[in-house]
């Protein structure tokens, strides 16, 4: 899941200052799950913006919409009939969704209401944690499904740094030591021998240095 957080309203207001008719568009997928950009958050932000405008004597018109996904054309197309009626789209999607809408509607002003943060999981109600960097070279199979690239503060591939205390990371005691988790899980599943292998440094060329990555599958294309 892609996680995000709402920008401060002050920043959103500054971006919206030149506009009067605003289409606020949420996304019902990842950012809804992390309570940043779903239908409820669209309502909250729209209410706040309307009240703020009223208090400052500014006339604005807001329409609220939430698409199931803001990064897939079939859903973005739902905006086609209404988008021309507005001066700007305030998108509560992740960065991918904002750009996808902008690409479909090249002449429309699109603004982001969220800061996209990381790939993560819902750990518990109201708590999301990062657990994937999208490095393009997944090694979870040898690290007992615990990612040392993301969850070890030092990104170590060949054992713990030795600084952890009572199973906690020395960089952030709120976080469990990833290597403690890896060793415990390998032990519990009888695979400690996997630790004998020495791993070379991560190959970051699969993630960066070549511009935006893409996945192309002929079998999925029309």
């Amino acid at each position: 899941m892609i996680t995000a957080e709402r920008k401060p309203i002050k920043e959103i207001k500054e971006m919206l200052a030149p506009y009067r008719k605003i289409l606020v568009v949420g996304c019902g997928s990842c950012v809804a799950e992390c309570a940043a950009g779903g239908e409820k958050e669209v309502g909250l932000l729209s209410s706040a913006l309307r009240m703020d405008a009223k208090a400052s004597g500014k006339e604005i018109e807001i329409r609220e919409m939430t698409l199931d996904r803001q990064c897939v054309y079939e859903f973005i197309d739902q905006l086609t009939e209404v988008i021309d009626q507005y001066d700007v789209v305030l998108s509560l999607a992740c960065g991918a969704g904002v750009q996808a809408v902008a690409e479909v509607f090249p002449r429309v002003h699109i603004l982001p209401a969220l800061n996209t943060t990381f790939l993560g999981e819902t750990k518990e109600a109201g708590l999301w944690v990062e657990n994937c960097r999208g490095c393009g070279d997944c090694k979870l199979g040898v690290f007992a499904a615990v990612c040392p690239v993301t969850r070890c503060a030092k990104g170590l591939f060949n054992g713990p740094c030795g600084g952890s205390k009572t199973d906690r990371c020395e960089v952030d005691p709120d976080v469990p030591c990833a290597w403690q988790l890896i060793v415990s899980r390998l032990e519990d599943t009888g695979r400690l021998d996997l630790l004998r292998k020495v791993h070379p440094p991560a190959d970051w060329s699969k993630q960066q240095g070549k511009g935006p990555r893409k996945i192309k599958r002929e079998d999925q294309r029309t």
Partner: protein, 143 residues
Amino acid sequence: MDQKGLGITRAILFCRQLDPDQDVNRRAIEKELGSQIRFFPLPCSGRVDPLYLMRALESGADKVYLITCPEGACRHREGNLRAKKRIAYTQGLIEEIGLDRERLELIITSAGDRKTIDELTRDILAREGVTSSVNPNDADIEK
């Protein structure tokens, strides 16, 4: 609750477990006060959503109250604790647009002094100094 102006000045959201006769009691005081007040009974105060609070303010309420069961007395265990967090979240949001956080108020009722919803409402109004004009029969409230 939509965001169209309702002409209300106070919105009171409350846990309907507080008062077994809440339906009759709130209707009586609603009739008395007219558009000055609007009640929104909730199955549990934990059902409140920040959006309800924002919509109430946007509808024109000068002040929005959320009345919960006493702490530790929620029949759903943690409903009133969640209500407290949601009020705090929404207070932060309205502060961001320059509104006074006091326009949203959480009232946690007292375990030792159970009151009906109309009594609780009169207490709120008394605090605002409007009791005498709306509640001529309830002389002992201000004691």
